[in-house]
């Protein structure tokens, strides 16, 4: 989609010889435009819910909330978190926009180190895997990379088949968790955590754990969560489901002899827009706004702005 957007932008901008936008400028504008529209999804989603509650939204094809949540869900990722030393603090992923759910895998079935690296296999010569110890569907986690897979078969007492390749080199540690007894860890504000920990009825327990976001130092912003009760401090038993930021779009090119850049989709750094095709119009308008300011052309800016406003008005 990124090439279509760029061509549209250039077509509008070049129509009256307003100016030329370099690939690096375009990539910057594209990133800003995508982030802007990405954030708008959350506001639009909220507006739509309010409308639903006052019966100003329909169902079926008129169910706009569904479409909005689908786009947001397409940015949903899951990851096991890395523990900060031996503590109840865990580092959050760098690319998270918002943390939706945090889970604690409370039933550790077994752990060990991989003996032999085979594709889609876990081999541990020190183990004696049985179906009662490791039922089918149990979750295997690579402690180092935090990648996960499900147990699909017990090949032998020392070998398991897993759903995806864990890239577990020989000598690397793993843990296997039960797919039952997964607890949601509840987000609690820093304001409340003290009272919660001192509450006789609602203090965090293994059944109802809680976390706070924080971990800032004098030089770095906080990007860790602290889990309560403090006894929850396993190396790889905290998993997070989060909405990540869209990846930075990169319009990549090869330069021909006459100096004109030509789109090159095969480049290793190529990244397309991650928003749906329906947002192409919005992306063009947003980029035109930025480009209009950049090349100091009021008409370009106004065109982008007006188109953008009318689209927003139509959607709200």
């Amino acid at each position: 989609m990124i090439n279509e957007v760029r061509e549209s932008v250039l077509a509008i901008v070049n129509k009256n010889n307003y100016g030329y936008i370099s690939p690096s400028d375009f990539n910057l504008f594209a990133q800003q435009a995508q982030l802007d529209i990405f954030e708008d999804y959350f506001y639009a989603y909220n507006n739509q819910l309010v409308k639903e509650n006052i019966r100003r939204s329909g169902s079926g094809y008129a169910d706009l909330t569904k479409g909005l949540s689908e786009v947001i869900d397409s940015f949903s990722e899951e990851a096991f978190l890395t523990r900060v030393l031996i503590s109840n603090n865990y580092n959050l992923p760098d690319d998270y926009y918002l943390i939706n759910k945090v889970f604690h895998y409370s039933s550790l079935l077994t752990s060990g180190t991989n003996t032999l690296n085979l594709v889609n296999k876990l081999v541990d010569n020190t183990q004696s895997f049985t179906s009662s110890l490791v039922p089918i569907g149990s979750i295997v986690v690579n402690i180092d990379s935090k990648s996960q897979a499900f147990v699909t078969a017990i090949d032998s007492a020392t070998t398991l088949s897993v759903s995806t390749d864990l890239n577990l080199a020989a000598g690397k540690p793993y843990q296997i968790f039960s797919s039952k007894n997964i607890r949601e860890v509840e987000r609690v504000t820093q304001n409340k955590i003290f009272y919660l920990n001192n509450s006789n009825l609602t203090a965090p327990t293994n059944s109802f754990p809680a976390y706070v976001l924080g971990g800032a130092t004098s030089t770095t912003l906080g990007n860790t969560i602290t889990i309560y009760p403090v006894t929850i401090n396993g190396a790889a038993d905290i998993k997070v489901q989060y909405i990540r930021y869209p990846r930075t779009p990169q319009w990549t090119y090869v330069t021909l002899a006459n100096g004109e850049p030509v789109f090159d989709q095969s480049s290793g750094t190529y990244v397309d827009f991650e928003l749906p095709v329906s947002d192409e119009y919005g992306l063009v308008n947003k980029i035109l706004e930025y480009a209009g300011i950049s090349i100091r052309e009021e008409a370009v800016y106004n065109f982008g702005k007006t188109s953008d406003d009318s689209e927003t008005q139509q959607e709200s």
């Binding site: 639903e52 509840e186 609690v188 509450s199 327990t205 293994n206």
Partner: protein, 307 residues
């Protein structure tokens, strides 16, 4: 909690304790209550929104506590030997007692509560009855008061009841199981029928967390029937409530949250309150076990021949 298959129910899949799941189908667990409530009653289109789970957990536990106090018939019984100090330490999950009995010769004899004080704290005093303090200004206390010591020694008078004895109804001392009486001069009047009982008596010291007995209970086997609050010693995973009360617990949580939330219309709060009260009554009736079989058993008693 997921449904159990037969092997899981009867044998707990061979794991100890194998009887863990027996009768578990009668109950719904706290985890399930909180999970179901968050799923069904909290959301963008529900009455309740933007709630923290701990709020739901708090009110769910409060609902279970309230049910344990006055609706459940789940009475716990604890058997303990009463030591020579005549003191029975209350169990850790004790909230209130139902009945206290002494177990003798294969029978349980219910004990009556002594309405008079049978235990007291004693401050140390000098010859002039001045209270004594330590260097920090704290009052010095005796290990045992005279009242306690005499009760433990059996030196305190109590009433002897034995219809076949000439000393029936007279005050005496029970020391080591033997009764001693004053040399009788003249007549005796005014038996306190309220406290007269051949069995030992007790009085619960709630603050101290003990039951103090009269001297006759030394080395006797005591059975305490009591109610708890259902919190299972803080083990959230074990907290459960009978399924007959499940809907009440949801309505209790809903009402409690709506009642304390800002800006909720009064008619919505009232509707939730009525809902809660009606469901409590409904569940109490269900739990009262009024069913034809049991009524029939009682009615059969009307035709009993009396000699």
């Amino acid at each position: 909690m997921a449904y159990l298959n037969g092997y899981q129910y009867y044998n707990n899949e061979g794991e100890n304790p194998t009887n863990k799941n027996w009768g578990s189908y009668q109950y719904v667990y706290l985890n399930d209550i909180v999970n179901n409530f968050m799923l069904m009653y909290v959301g963008n289109h529900e009455l309740l929104n933007n709630l923290n789970r701990y709020q739901v957990l708090f009110h769910a536990k409060r609902a279970i506590q309230e049910l344990n106090y006055d609706a459940f018939k789940e009475i716990k019984a604890l058997e303990l030997n009463v030591p020579t100090t005549l003191r029975f330490i209350l169990p850790p999950d004790y909230v209130n007692y139902v009945r206290l009995s002494v177990y003798r010769n294969g029978y349980l004899f219910p004990l009556v509560e002594n309405i008079q004080i049978n235990s007291a704290t004693s401050y140390l005093q000098d010859n002039n009855s001045n209270v004594l303090f330590d260097q920090n200004g704290n009052i010095l206390q005796a290990e045992r008061s005279i009242v306690d010591q005499e009760r433990i020694n059996g030196a305190k008078k109590s009433i002897y009841l034995n219809a076949n004895s000439p000393y029936n109804g007279k005050e005496g001392w029970n020391i080591g199981g033997c009764w001693y009486f004053d040399y009788q001069i003249g007549a005796r009047f005014g038996l306190n029928t309220e406290t007269a009982n051949s069995n030992p008596t007790f009085r619960i010291n709630n603050k101290a967390g003990v039951i103090n007995f009269s001297s006759g209970m030394s080395e006797e086997l005591c059975v305490l029937e009591y109610v708890s609050d259902g919190m299972e010693g803080g083990d959230d995973a074990s907290v459960s409530v009978n399924k007959l009360f499940e809907e009440f617990v949801y309505s209790y949580i809903k009402y409690s949250i709506l009642n304390s939330k800002f800006g909720v219309q009064e008619y919505i709060v009232n509707r939730a309150r009525k809902d809660k009260s009606a469901l409590l009554r409904n569940a109490k009736i269900r739990l009262s076990d009024i069913h034809p079989g049991r009524l029939l058993m009682n009615l059969r008693g009307q035709d009993k021949w009396l000699k």
